[in-house]
Subunit: 429 residues, 2 copies
Amino acid sequence: MSRAAVDAAQAAQEIPVCDADLEEVRRWDREDPIGHFRERFELPADIVYLDGNSLGALPVETHQRLEDVISRQWGRDLIRSWNVHGWIHAPERVGAKIARLIGADGDEVIVADSTSVNLYKLLCGALALRPDRSVVLSEPGNFPTDLYVIQGAIAGATPARRLRLEPADRILEAIDDDTALVMLTHVHYKTAAVHDMRAITERAHECGALVLWDLSHSAGAVEVDLNGCGVDMAVGCGYKYLNGGPGAPAYLFLARRHHDSFISPLSGWMGHRAPFDFVDDYAPAPGIRRFLCGTPYMLGLLALEAGVDLMLECGIAPLVEKSRRLSELFIRLVQRMCPRSSLRLISPADPARRGSHVAFAHPDGYAVMQALIERGVIGDFRSPDILRFGFAPLYTRYEDVWRAVATLAEVLASECWSDPRYAVRAPVT
Amino acid sequence: MSRAAVDAAQAAQEIPVCDADLEEVRRWDREDPIGHFRERFELPADIVYLDGNSLGALPVETHQRLEDVISRQWGRDLIRSWNVHGWIHAPERVGAKIARLIGADGDEVIVADSTSVNLYKLLCGALALRPDRSVVLSEPGNFPTDLYVIQGAIAGATPARRLRLEPADRILEAIDDDTALVMLTHVHYKTAAVHDMRAITERAHECGALVLWDLSHSAGAVEVDLNGCGVDMAVGCGYKYLNGGPGAPAYLFLARRHHDSFISPLSGWMGHRAPFDFVDDYAPAPGIRRFLCGTPYMLGLLALEAGVDLMLECGIAPLVEKSRRLSELFIRLVQRMCPRSSLRLISPADPARRGSHVAFAHPDGYAVMQALIERGVIGDFRSPDILRFGFAPLYTRYEDVWRAVATLAEVLASECWSDPRYAVRAPVT
């Protein structure tokens, strides 16, 4: 669907949030130009799923493709599938599809390993290009794995490096000529606050630093234009908005201008120039393929491809548009339906500065979320007190938003969450 | 099945190889104490699959479990599956099962990432413990990713290290007090030659070096006793004899005595002491869990679990026994049926020194293998001239061996492999 068609269709459905009732909201779903994508997912009828930013839902097509991958490709064609079903080229093929969602060229993105491992590859490659600078700049409260991987990569490194953490609103001024690398998450995993990718990237380049963005909470829900912003590197997750399934492989982006100068420290055989020559000495493959390491995770990779195909079929523009309308509706309905609660909006109120989820703090956030989940509204809790609600515009309906807020209002009004059973912590919270 | 029962059952079927005809070999299959496991795999009826050492076959149970994982766990229970279906503990749970196949304790093995990535984690951890030694010792022609990952890990490292390659029969004498680490593949991927794990590990320890074994071509087909040999570290592959599926995650072993002193350079959030506290500073989890990095590859991990469960149901002793009989039968039948061919046995003739595959060199090895594959006998080719035939004792039948050699004899006698179409190389060879 073209951007113009989306604009036209959605202009026709302005959202008068404060007055909307359930019937009104249902009408928006019926008139939603991308509403029919909901049927392309195997979502249970009895829940409202607002955690697609943690684990995306299962597309019908993915289920079918996985059955084919398991039964026919693995089971029947066995080892021959590396050639006859194109397994060997799947990492670049799926990477090129993801590139279209994030403003990159097809040969600048590859699917491999996890976000954490990909971050390590790019970090080490980038630091080697800035041997005379000591600082990796990030923000406190960045997604932990980003900070941990930086800490691991620079531990005991020569030359010595340090991780400097500055609050989001001080990042621009903190970039200086001792900055080797700026590493930030584009949309904050907890607050959904969006960094100004263009301004930070430009400032970093003015100072001679490189920039690495984590797109885990952006791709598929928020507009991302890596090449338009001149970004050097990016990583991102396959199992959130891209609907790649639990533990789906991740992707990495490296701008083409850096391809020849980056060497991955994880020099596994699949990143070799000629892996099937089985020679003793490592020589990196040309281009993005050098960032492969071991044998690709084929089940997860092909599941991810099905998820990305579905997203491309919809197009990114209507997803971005609907994402904002969903989160805006949620916030306004909370204002109306939960007027005297202890909820405190943590996310930016301006939808232009917010990603595709909404976070509210509540003193008893953990118990409130457990009570919601028991009532079929699946969001998640983020320590210490955050209720997080994600809106996956490919399948979340306006009605889902209405039902979630109505349930939240009921839970808060009844104080049912104070039941001791909601305080019992599960391993994953 | 107990070891004694296996011995008794198999003593009754001595293999008089030179005289065996197809009927005789079929009788061995009928009398095979573990022959019924063949029916537990979805193998096509029209092929002889001798490449389970590259990609193991699909167990029926795995197909069923994956359907459950996709449909019910991912599709219906969604994010809740991390708790309700035990996803969060799957890396240690499956690791503990693999431990039983390789002579390790349950808390010494974890499933994570790829073999290459796991090798890197352990290598860096080990080198940090031997700062005053400069050599990583391996052999030329070791599986390439092992050598490449060493090269990547030591490139530009401080203190400086070097990779020293010595032929297999000179490894013992090459270990000295400048050796930081000995890194070898237990069963050679090409020749199937087995290293003396006990002798090399003991010699390394006498000299103060650490030892890291790659078990990719051992686990599930060859006897491995890591703790009996005092091994420090090991890695291995999930998609070969363990039948975990294409690109299944790999595993790593670290002896318990090293748990507190090893730090993974890949310090991702899942290896954190408290990943869901979302704090800024990395603190490694106690024990083996610190070797997790990003979010585990759940589809592949749960497929691997089903494969390992099947292997544990059979038990390792009868697999090791049958593996030797299969490869021995293959070699003796080649001697009988291909008497004037250009085949040259590359694998050790002594089954006690051989893994679970057999390699023959042939000047036109690539074309011969293509001709075999076209006739339904699936082995593989390894550069420059090696025909490789793998015997997965959980599903390979004696009859498969007979049919494979009969087809090989026919191909060689007819010289059909000289047809130019067999010389066209596929991306994966």
